[in-house]
Structures are given as structure tokens and as C-alpha cells.
Assembly symmetry: C2
Homo-oligomer: 202 residues x 2
């Protein structure tokens, strides 16, 4: 097996652990999920898990890091395309909502803070989150300044961006595919509501 394949195999094993752990932790909470629980759902022994990470806290970190890195990559790819401001905003929302709905468990963990982590790890996550937040704020700010003749303060734009992310991040509190439609329906609804208000049909 080639070197890359080894790495892939390893990452594949880790990825599977991260997925299943996130699913359990999303239901039971970080402290409410024991290493023995995780060993069971991943089909491994308790001590065998420590081959993939050095302790439980690092597992939580890896789940967060992987998620935010994916979100960031998607959004950076979006910025590379030649799009209008409106299309950028629409794309940002669509990306975020799709990823959210496809990774409900991970996102539940990612949106519940990182109080349990040491300073270095939470700093790394904080930087990722901030980069992602700033990216969103820029897109929202460009859209708002382009649409309206009035100028907006930086604070106003930041707060408005938080409102947008609130609509998206609250999804885990209610969404089910059969009841509330496909991801595209939800992201369209959010885009219309955010740009034109709740009664818009545009």
C-alpha cells in the first residue's frame, strides 16, 4: 500500500470515528458521552480509541476543526467564482444550510461552544470561527451597502449577520426533511426572508 493510501486509510478510520462520535455527542452532550459509549458505537475497544487521538478533549477539537475547515473551504471556493453580490449572498446561505442539514450532529456540536477545550485548541477554533464570521459579514455588508442608498455602520452589519446566522444555525432545533422540505427550500426561504422580509415571494 502506498504512503498516501496509508494516510487515507488512517484518515478514513478517524473520519468514521469523528462521524459516529459527533452523532452520539450531539444527543448526549460532550460530558454525557463516555469513552466507553464511543468505543461501542465505533465498534472498537476503549483503549483502541486512543490510537486516533490522545484524549477525549482532542476528539471534540477534531470534530470542530474538521467542520469549520470544511465550511471555510466551501465559502472560499464561492469567493473565487465570478458572481454578483446577490449571488454571493445566496451562495453563502445555500452552502451553509446544505452543510448544516447534511451534518446536523456535527453542527450541533460546533454551535454549542468550546468551553471544554484548553487554551491553545480553543484559540485555533476561535480563529477559524472568526475567519468564517468575517467572510459572512463581508458578503452581507457588500449586499446591504449595494442595495440601500443609506450607509451602514460596521456594528449594524455585524449584528445583521448574526441574525442571518441565527436563522440558519437554529435549524437543528426544528428541521426534519419530511416535514420541512429539502435543503434548497429552506435556504431559499432564509434568503428571501433576510433580504426582503417574511412576506416576500420574489
Amino acid at each position: 500500500m502506498s504512503n498516501q493510501a496509508v494516510i487515507n486509510k488512517r484518515l478514513s478510520g478517524l473520519d468514521e470515528i469523528l462521524d459516529k462520535s459527533a452523532q452520539l455527542m450531539a444527543h448526549m452532550g460532550y460530558h454525557g458521552t463516555s469513552m466507553r459509549d464511543l468505543a461501542q458505537v465505533t465498534g472498537r475497544s476503549l483503549s483502541g480509541l486512543y490510537h486516533y487521538f490522545s484524549n477525549k478533549e482532542e476528539l471534540l477539537f477534531l470534530i470542530n476543526q474538521r467542520g469549520f475547515t470544511s465550511l471555510l473551504k466551501m465559502s472560499n471556493d464561492l469567493l473565487k467564482q465570478d458572481l454578483t453580490t446577490k449571488e454571493r449572498l445566496s451562495g453563502l446561505i445555500s452552502n451553509h444550510v446544505s452543510y448544516f442539514i447534511d451534518h446536523l450532529s456535527e453542527m450541533r456540536i460546533m454551535t454549542s461552544g468550546s468551553m471544554e477545550m484548553n487554551e491553545q485548541r480553543s484559540h485555533i477554533l476561535w480563529k477559524l470561527k472568526e475567519e468564517y464570521a468575517r467572510l459572512g459579514q463581508n458578503i452581507v455588508g457588500n449586499y446591504m451597502r449595494e442595495q440601500a442608498e443609506t450607509d451602514y455602520s460596521e456594528d449594524a452589519i455585524i449584528r445583521k449577520t448574526f441574525l442571518l446566522y441565527g436563522m440558519m444555525n437554529w435549524i437543528f432545533g426544528w428541521y426534519s426533511e419530511q416535514e420541512h422540505g429539502a435543503a434548497k427550500d429552506v435556504s431559499d426561504d432564509i434568503f428571501r426572508t433576510f433580504t426582503c422580509g417574511c412576506c416576500s415571494t420574489e
Copy 2:
């Protein structure tokens, strides 16, 4: 001391415990907060806590029940007043946001689900939540149907209401009074954004 005073004293003791427990649990999570931690922050002994509730799960239940009951009472009071549909929506948002900002820790717990509770208790909370949700859906539905000539499906209104509550319930993820203004500024922003879109100055 009168009977009522006794009850007040007792409730006062319990209320203080619920407040301080909610504050700690909001930071550390339910499982991440030990009864010994709670004993310390409430200035009581470990075993002394069990005078006020029979176990840790009931404490979590009481925090949730008290919160949702307060929210429901506020909103029911609102419906008793003679207001326009628009004023009702504005009042609903204002009430929710004010309570949220004044009780950030409790709301963080209340919005993080009730997976840890037994069937009977979580059913009681589920009923409270549903009553509060339906109340919001009615107000939002009335507003939307009144504003637009087109008709909206029940599902569309429900989803739109979730978007509104998303903007409000995400507050704990970012709000600080010094950075983001008073509660009234936030609720005004949410009302305008929800009714007329992000660029509205209404």
C-alpha cells in the same frame, strides 16, 4: 411568619438555587456540572441540595419549567391587550428578546433540548414548548396573511416562525450588552429584518 411568607422564603431559596445552577450549567453543560459544583456556587452542602429537589434531573426540569412558564405568561398577557397584529408581533419579539437577554444562562439551557429527562418530565416541557410555539405561529401567521394578498400554507408559516425564533434564540451565541446595544435595539432590528428584510429602516 405567615403561610405565604413561608412559601415565599422557600421559593426564594429554590429560585436562588435555580439561578446559580443555570449559570453554571450554561457554561459547563448539564453532565459537566457536578452536584458538588452546584453545592459550592449555591453556598450549600452537597446533601443539603437534596432538600429542594429529589435529584439532578429534577433540577434541570425545574429550570426549564420555570423559564417556559415565564415566557408563556408574558405572551399570554400580551394577547389580552387590545393591539393590532403588527403590534402583537412586535410585542412578541420584544418580550422574547428581553427575557432572553435578561436570562441568558437559563435560555441557553432551555434551548439545548431535554434529552436527559424522563418521559413524564420531558412531556410536560414538550407541552409548554408547543403551546409557546403555537402562540408564536399564530401571531406570525396573522401578520403574514394580513400583510400579503397571497395565502400562505400552514407549513410555510411554521417554517417562517422557526426562522424568526432562530434570529432570537441565536442571541446567546454572540450578544454582549456593551458591543451590541440594549435589548430594545436588538428586538427592533429583528422585527424590522423579519418583516421587511435586512435593508429596511422602516
